[in-house]
Amino acid sequence: MATNRSNRWWIPLLGWLVACLLFFPIFWMFITSFKTEVAAVATPPQLFFRPTLENYVAVQTRASYFNFALNSVVISLGATLLSLLLAIPAAYAMSFFPTKRTKSTLVWMLSTKMLPAVGVLVPIYILARETGLLDTRIGLIIIYTLINLPIVVWMIYSFFKEVPKEILEADRMDGASTYQELVHVLLPLALPGIFSTALLSIILSWNEAFWSLNLTTFDAAPLTAFIASFSSPQGLFWAKLSAASSMAIAPILLFGWVSQRQLVRGLTFGAVK
């Protein structure tokens, strides 16, 4: 290996070139968010310019931006908490008291992910309308919880599986109840895993753009739907679009960077570790 190292000078070059090319659209958007609207569409494109925060101010002072951002936060946190509440007990039972049906139950849960959203667009839309959940946060929270539940159960199940059985058995000898065992022994041990599961659920909910576009109009519209409103052809508000977009993706980009390795596990249902 060492003998090869000398003639491999092009590897770092190529690696960085690829990384920069892939990241470039995000970088360009971020840069544009600090330009004036005039500079944003200038010919030739400007890389060096006097930065301004006016777009961020403009987007913030549009009173509705805060509302959209709040919707995104409430919906993704709500859906994540709800799915954790449902998934942790289920994963606990399945990993420590497996029955003959546990494996098929897990596979079946994952198979619900395969139902394409468009296939049930009409029924869900009508159900939401009839129950008054159209354009409400609760409506989206319920849907995102159900969409993410299989992945969340699966991930937590796989993290619980890694907890050494002996620890729980020792504790059980001491007469701990199921509840005590779960809350005082298991959860602290599996906390890092639960944390990255929560991050994945937040990322997926935050970026979901099929149901949010179809089931919300204004009141419960999260950032995905707000950004989509910039697609109208009238006016070129690229700098403001960039500022709004930068704020919308920044937290999720950070979460993604932090949890990239655990994401692989969740996204492939554990088929690739």
């Binding site: 008291f97 049930v120 919308a248």
Partner: protein, 305 residues
């Protein structure tokens, strides 16, 4: 009914030591299972029910049972077949790009080089950008025929500008979706490569295998399963690409970018044709299930490890 409830409590004696735990264990799984059953069954049953009715939300009074009329109408609608064709083109081309390039990039990022961690983080970032944002960055700031960066560069070189969304709308969508999902393929395949046994690599190298041979006969076979998993997961998502089309082309020009998901959306929320859209939705479900069967099989095989 009563007997079926009573049986679990009279479980046979050998299980008694565990029974006080196994019964609550079942109760712990129940909420998730019940909710998912409802989530699967209720909308699907409704879709099937609606698919056999004439039902338009604009004229709800004229609701009636029409048998297979919606299916014959949908299946003889040339737009449906065009949209299925476009869906296939989208799925296959983005799969080819992301898996082909993803494999190469995974090998590249498996090499040690200065700042690899940071470079990798930059490279996988597009996957975390919400679809509406990525679609609008590309549509406006990069592919806009007048002020977009691509047009400015090509015009600066004296080559003129491409009006991406007028002349190559489907290609533009393919590029955007590929940009979002290449990082996904890279991330998964890189993880898979890193689990490759380094001893095996060393042994092959000792035997005088060239870099190409190493890739062809050691790395690629090892990646087989990961590639299959990536392909199947991506297919599930690509079958229902929606936001990227919604904010850029709106299915046009003409029908050039109307995929199955967008076709159903148009039927459902613009024409309010509940019956027709439900029938179309069921076709999408059948399509996705064909893929899903393969995916679930390979995931299930790996569940114990």
């Amino acid at each position: 009914m009563t007997s079926s409830i009573a049986t679990p409590t009279h479980s046979p004696p050998p299980a008694r030591t565990r029974s006080h735990r196994s019964i609550p264990a079942r109760l712990l799984v129940a909420p998730s299972v019940i909710l998912l059953v409802l989530w699967m069954v209720v909308p699907l049953a409704m879709a099937i029910w609606f698919a056999f009715q004439r039902y338009n939300l604009l004229i709800p009074d004229e609701r009636e049972f029409v048998g297979f009329a919606n299916f014959t109408y949908i299946l003889t609608d040339p737009t449906l077949w065009i949209s299925i064709g476009i869906t296939m083109v989208l799925v296959v081309s983005v799969l080819a790009i992301t898996i082909g390039l993803g494999t190469v990039l995974a090998v590249l990022f498996n090499q040690e080089f200065f700042g690899r961690g940071v470079a990798r983080v930059l490279a996988i970032s597009p996957f975390f950008v919400m679809p509406t944002v990525s679609a609008l960055i590309w549509k406006n700031m990069l592919m806009h025929p007048v002020n977009g960066l691509f047009a400015q560069i090509t015009r600066g070189l004296g080559l003129g500008a491409i009006d991406w969304f007028a002349d190559f709308p489907l290609l533009a969508i393919i590029i955007i979706v590929a940009w979002q999902w290449l990082p996904f393929a890279l991330l998964i395949l890189l993880t898979a490569i890193q689990s490759l046994d380094t001893d095996q690599m060393e042994a092959a190298r000792m035997d005088g295998a060239s870099a190409m041979q190493l890739f062809r006969f050691v790395v690629l076979p090892h990646l087989n399963r990961a590639i299959a998993v990536v392909a199947m997961i991506e297919t599930i998502f690509f079958l229902t690409i929606f936001a990227e089309i919604f904010v850029t082309t709106g299915g046009g020009p003409g029908l050039a970018t109307t995929n199955l998901a967008y076709y159903i959306y148009l039927k459902a929320l613009l024409e309010f044709d509940v019956g027709g859209a439900s029938a179309g939705g069921l076709i999408a479900v059948v399509l996705a299930n064909v893929v899903a069967i393969f995916l679930m099989r390979s995931v299930a095989r790996n569940l114990d490890t």
